[in-house]
Symmetry: C2
Amino acid sequence: MSLIVQKFGGSSVSDADGIKRVAQRIMDTRAQGHSVVVVVSAMGDTTDDLLDLAGQLTSDAPAREMDMLLSSGERISMALLAMAIDAIGGKAVSFTGSQAGMVTDAVHGKARIIEVSPERVRKALDRDHVAIVAGFQGMSKEGRNVTTMGRGGSDTTAVALAAALNADVCEIYTDVDGVYTADPRIVPSAKKIDEISSEEMLEMAASGAKILHLRCVEYARRFGVPLHVRSSFSTNEGTWVLPSPDDKIKIQEGEPLEQPIISGVAHDRSEAKVTIVGVPDIPGKAADIFGVIAGANSNIDMIVQNVSTAGSGKTDISFTLPIVEGKDALAALRENQERIGFEGVEYNEQIGKLSLIGAGMRSNPGVSYRFFEALSAAGVNVDMISTSEIRISIVTDADKLDAAVKAVHTAFDLDSDAAATVYGGTGR
Amino acid sequence: MSLIVQKFGGSSVSDADGIKRVAQRIMDTRAQGHSVVVVVSAMGDTTDDLLDLAGQLTSDAPAREMDMLLSSGERISMALLAMAIDAIGGKAVSFTGSQAGMVTDAVHGKARIIEVSPERVRKALDRDHVAIVAGFQGMSKEGRNVTTMGRGGSDTTAVALAAALNADVCEIYTDVDGVYTADPRIVPSAKKIDEISSEEMLEMAASGAKILHLRCVEYARRFGVPLHVRSSFSTNEGTWVLPSPDDKIKIQEGEPLEQPIISGVAHDRSEAKVTIVGVPDIPGKAADIFGVIAGANSNIDMIVQNVSTAGSGKTDISFTLPIVEGKDALAALRENQERIGFEGVEYNEQIGKLSLIGAGMRSNPGVSYRFFEALSAAGVNVDMISTSEIRISIVTDADKLDAAVKAVHTAFDLDSDAAATVYGGTGR
């Protein structure tokens, strides 16, 4: 018997039929002898409807009240789910974030968990009940106000509960089968990944794979929580995201497999590129610029500083940031242009980022060669490059991105039946 | 400067425009220098929509989860109202029932308030904020679960807060101008009552006047809270419901007025009449019967026991109860028919109750005479009679009820301009 945390998103509980299906799924897990904690998001369009109502009143709602408003969505779905479980003979009890002991900081709209004290959840499990917990919300330690955690909040709630309860697995239910080697809408031959390390999944999420939020994977990795991303519409195994290679051995109960070189190809269209032209090439100017951006609360991703043109004493600095943060960042830069002394700013939203991720590339020196060769053969220009130990990312023109993804996916044999046999000898 | 508690029902906040209007109303009160605590119900159809969703899942939802579900409605309206106040330059903060210190017993769906500890509300007032509190909900002392208070719950929240905060007045906003001498849909010449004692209002509410819930008036009377029932669509004075005659003096700041004999005529179509035929006329049988009814959780209103027919040793007992409780009561009676030994049960939903209410009738012996004379002249049969010190009620056929209300209203000069001059010399 295991303790399983199951997280169901808004699309899984968008109407009464969806809620009934989820209730049945939970009871099927119970019937296998497991204890179950469920984390649930707001029903389908609830959050959008509430935002729309707020928008009719003000364009600048107080953050505390916005959290009070939005957190009502999960209360509705969790209570309905408890009723649906009761209706098919199960026993369930629902808890708000506050009742479940999700203590956060006081940053409304993007609160971070600082403590999880799920005493009431534990008691419910002891009484043989399914515990249903509202995702996405908590209570601030100071002030005891309702907080919400922003994007990916319900996944994070699930992982945090799994960690606090020492659950055997945290199942994230979605409308797809799992994590794929590339976005199947771009690469129809992309394959479901059976297992991936949380380190690799972290790079995938950071590189634009949308199935799991970065924050959730970070949390799972830090606390050693195995994730199982799977479909709420089938009982097929999905993708296991495993904190350490040892877990793979434990879970497969068979021969430890060697690591494939490459896990997958991720892409991201949500970033823009900013180029600061004619920056005086003297120490401190880059720090100045990035200080201004940080002050505008923008998150910089890739950075390239061009080599100073001989004798000019000037250089260009390019970086990428989320498109939604572009406006504020540009305004902040222009405000400081005179003081810093650069010549101008260029801004381009028509870019795409491609990332190749795989722990196996650590010990496979040929990966970069094969990667750039594939891009070149496909006629893809490379505008920026950044790498980590287990990732290579490039920026190209937005209209070249699909071709780039396909070319790289094919170059690493991810879309052939042979994919399963391509392992690197990592010796781990 | 006063402390005013204002309660707005669901129809006042049914959409963004309604919420804006209420926000403006609150800020107008603030502009007059008053501190304001607002109690708000769920928006328009929210509760019905949530009940409908629950109904699609189960016909027998666990009461705890139903409370969790329904209590979300007020969270939405209160957060939106706080945003609307902020949008017009005010400062407001919203509180759930739990945050506002509404501690109740654990009877989900009809919880009773056992303690009000509005520390956070007080602090918000100290910081010069409008405090917005979710009506209808609290938190159980044992178990710390969300509870709801059933019908009239938001009014009760408002009065309880007004009592705990020692507010100067509790304003109940509705879609009508105040309490009328009779239902204006039946008696178009009915007049708005400017002032009524809470004792009389209690009898009005118990007799079917729907504008204020019995429980709210009881609470206001017990804790000496002046109520002001008024329209959310105008700034006209409504009806003051005053806990003691002294308050009238205080509020009018003029000559204490003598009490009019009659406050108004209330009617009720929601009851049914049950007649138990052929009850053995021996001690203990009536207790037996009412014990059975109480066991079925029915609330008996009027009771008439006929005089035993000479020599038969049998009698009939009639009583009224809410139609919604009729089925269960009949089933319980039939189950016990053999044991108790009565001959049969008759059941009639085609009845109407009319009540004449007025503190002045205490010292006016002519009231009963004028009352029954008016009914007789209008051809209204009288089936049952019950009285209190300040009320006479009768039951008649449902199709005679309107005529009866009109006749009595006219007989006591309530629909003429002379009404204002009809005072009894009560000497109070």
